[in-house]
Amino acid sequence: MFKSLGTPPPLPRWAEVLLLPLINIAVAFLACAVVIWALGENPREVLWTLFQGPFLYPGNLGYTLYYATNFIFTGLAVAVAFHAKLFNIGGEGQVTLGGLGVGLLVMSLGPTLPAILMVPMVILVSAAFGALWALIPGYLQAYRGSHIVITTIMFNFIASAIMVSLLSGPMMQPGQMSPQTPPFPSNAVLHKTHDVLHWLGFDQVANSPMNLSFFVALLALVGTWMLIWRTRLGYEIRGIGNNPDAAHYAGIRVPRIVLLTMAISGALAGMMALNEVAGAQQRVILNFSGQYGFVGIAVALIGRNHPVGILLASLLFGALYQGGTEIDFNYQSITREMVTLIQGLIILFSGALYYMFDPWLARILALILPRKANPEGGPS
């Protein structure tokens, strides 16, 4: 059919990792510019607002990084599971449970323990509750064959129901009408970055919800990279993801690795509660999970399931969230939903249509770059 074109040459690795995503994002913004133009605004101005918003105004960088923290955790959660070819769509529920776990811990222990003990416990509990919530679908997948996509979706609903019933009941702050817990005592919170910086003497730093959990997220990025590419467990996770039959042949106990993978994935998702609950809000509020669990799927997709990619994708999405607020503030005809549109376009071009430009780019590069000598020549 495409006789004249033939099969395109393979794309160089640097082009696939770097050039292709940039082209995809550029095309997404181009499509967005068309929409803005159709709405009667100047695309250049609007997009410029979107770009400078997250970075230039005081405090906005903090907001960008605060959003990015959420995306890093949920993106990593999806990526770890995906290395074992498990599609964990339950990030939302695991985030919720992580937050509820933190809330229960803080409310039951109160301000008794010093922060040096309490904060590590908060971190552990957020991870443990998230892990537990992912373990159940993991078990059902590994030993009962129930598909993980179905069960994790159902567990999102269950988690959300549990949250409503607890926050409007036993965990609700007495004497309040809104479904939220009392504020956390200061021994149990992850401090805001600007507070820490003020304390260190940088007085002019503007306020933002960014807090110390951003650095936990950075550690999680490094830890995940080590886990997947440097440990035996990571090797086994990638093994069952790439070829479960060969993994079985190699003596890897596939069900056990499925359980462990889901636990790690859930733990990472649960730790998003550090940012929202222990850091930004310093209390559990209804729906703090804010759909980040779902957007994490897109982040992992665009980040190609690699920690570096996830960091970049998280920063991009964080910037878009913050930039969207600026657009909303500055323009009448364009609302915050424009950002959702851009997000959608980015997901469309970077995810669903990822390989659309691949053959063309490969042909162009093959023309430009000097042709490497084919060592074998034969089709062996």
């Binding site: 440097r230 440990t231 086994e236 093994g239 060969a246 003596g251 034969g378």
Partner: protein
């Protein structure tokens, strides 16, 4: 439609000067940088059997796909019966009188023979006419060529040889004068192969031109009139079969001298390493796939398991390697009992000193999307190969992998190349390197040379013999009878999940083994086979 080939024969074809049924001129085809076919010239005389031989990846299949219209050539000219033709689809090819029997049969197992043959030529909206016509066609084939098939039998219930017959009838039903057979004997017993050759001879006598693609030299010698040899996408020689010999063809295929016969020295069997008694196993669906298997395996010997593919050999390997649960009976491996009550997984088996070269390297032996250095530790990644620490010792793994690449001559091999980018023979070398280097006490090998070129076969066979001489007990399972006969010290034969007999090296006769593989009763002198033979 219902005309058999014979009546469509053109007058004058048989006695005039050599007429070309097929002529290819400078056919080229590239996939990206890979040139699968380079300036292929080929002339096939009408009414002859023409063999095309070459190693895996030599470009035979690509050439046939071009002929049959499944792929377009980049350049070149094709003449069918002297006329310039542009074949763009298999429908085109069929219309031009070219039929093809694929390596993997294209039959619907739940349809009857009649329905399968009718497929595509049903006639009108109601099937009655098509049925009558097809029944008549089948009767004509039976009478004319002796290709007897029960029209109402379900294809799924037929032996492989008969299924292939149905494929041939399908290929010829439209009056095809050129028949392409792609590796037709891979799944056949020697007897079935002989049956196929008889049919081919009748077809040839009837004026059909046959193109036989194979990598088996003995078949070329047995049946073809002329043979063309391909190597690395090029035609490297055309010979009249009567003027050549297997040695010359093998050298043309590989491009250097090869040792066709394995240097097999007498074995020196030592202590018992594996005792299997009354072993049985079931498939997931509950079918008995292994039944009452008993044999012994000693250090320093190679025990060959012969059998037609799909008669329980794969299940036997998987059970012994711990990948499949034991049903009845069990086995003693190096002093450890394994049965339904004492199951052991693949990891436990490996710890005991059992290595396993699986028959399907793509599904089991390798993770194709992993690098070579990640593949050479597969199954041994908890052992000393990956170092002591919490993190895997990458330098150590790389050094190990580089040593294996060097020692086992993995061509184009670098530690960080993905396994899928290696050729079949080199992939197999990676698997063999990993398992042999573990210095196993017992090695289970399945199809060690499937899809591997002649040069690599020689190397792999030498490795196996050397490992045996170092005192390893080797169980060799292969559907290549020649491989079994040249490597094994003893041979056991499987049929329908049971053992049907045992033969010592030297006493093995291809015909006798073939009969046993087909389910025939072994000679009474073989004790293991008494009352055990089952029939297909």
């Amino acid at each position: 439609m219902t005309q058999p080939v014979g009546s469509a024969q053109q007058a004058g074809g048989a006695h005039s000067a050599p007429r070309l049924a097929l002529e290819l001129e400078k056919i080229s085809k590239s996939f990206g940088p890979v040139r699968a076919n380079r300036d292929i010239d080929l002339q096939v005389e009408s009414g002859t059997i023409h063999g095309i031989i070459g190693e895996n990846g030599a470009g035979k299949s690509t050439l046939m796909k071009i002929l049959y219209g499944m792929q377009g050539a980049d350049s070149g000219r094709m003449l069918v019966n002297g006329k310039d033709e542009d074949i763009r689809s298999s429908a085109d090819a069929i219309a031009k009188g070219i039929g093809m029997v694929h390596q993997h049969f294209m039959l619907v197992p739940t349809f009857s023979v009649l329905e399968n043959v009718m497929l595509g030529t049903e006639g009108g909206a109601l099937l009655a006419d098509g049925r009558t016509a097809t029944r008549k066609l089948l009767a004509e084939f039976a009478e004319h060529y002796g290709m007897r098939v029960d029209p109402d039998a379900l294809v799924g219930s037929l032996p492989v040889g008969i299924r292939q017959r149905v494929e041939i009838i399908k290929a010829l039903k439209g009056g095809a004068k050129i028949l392409i057979l792609d590796e037709p004997t891979g799944v056949l017993t020697p007897q079935e192969t002989e049956g196929l050759f008889d049919i081919l001879r009748v077809l040839k006598a009837d004026g059909v031109t046959i193109l036989l693609i194979t990598h088996k030299l003995d078949e070329i010698m047995a049946i073809t009139d002329r043979v063309s040899v391909m190597r690395r996408g090029e035609m490297v020689g055309h010979r009249d079969t009567k003027d050549t010999n297997p040695q010359e063809l093998a050298e043309l295929m590989v491009g250097r001298k090869v040792l066709l016969q394995v240097d097999h020295t007498p074995a020196n069997p030592q202590e018992l390493r594996l005792t299997v008694d009354g072993l049985g196993a079931r498939s997931k669906a509950g079918h008995q796939v292994l039944q009452d298997i008993s044999f012994e395996l000693r250090a320093g010997e190679i025990l060959g398991v012969a059998g037609v593919s799909g008669n329980g050999q794969s299940e036997l390997m998987e059970t012994l390697a711990g990948m499949r649960a034991v049903g009845e009976g069990g086995f003693d491996l190096l002093g450890h009992r394994v049965d339904a009550r004492n199951p052991k997984g693949p990891d436990a088996m490996r710890d005991l000193g059992l290595a396993h070269i699986p028959e399907d390297r793509h599904h089991h032996g390798l993770i194709l999307s992993f690098q070579v250095q990640e593949n050479v530790i597969l199954g041994y990644h908890h052992g000393p190969l990956t170092g002591q620490g919490l993190l895997m010792d990458r330098d150590k793994i790389r050094q190990h992998s580089e040593r294996l690449i060097e020692e086992f001559d993995v061509r184009n091999g670098r530690s960080n190349v993905l396994a899928k980018h290696l050729s079949g023979g080199n992939q197999q070398k990676v698997v063999i390197a990993r398992e042999v280097d573990a210095v196993p006490k017992v090695l289970i090998v399945g199809q060690p040379t499937r899809g591997v070129d002649v040069g690599a076969i020689e190397f792999i066979h030498k490795q196996l013999i050397a490992l045996r001489d170092r005192g390893c007990a080797i169980l060799l399972i292969s559907v290549e009878l020649e491989e079994i006969m040249s490597l094994s010290d003893r041979i056991i034969v499987m049929n329908a999940g049971r053992l049907v007999g045992e033969v010592a090296r030297g006493q093995a006769d291809e015909n006798e083994l073939g009969l046993m593989m087909g389910g025939g009763r072994a000679k009474p002198k073989v004790p293991a086979a008494q009352g055990e033979a089952s029939h297909v």
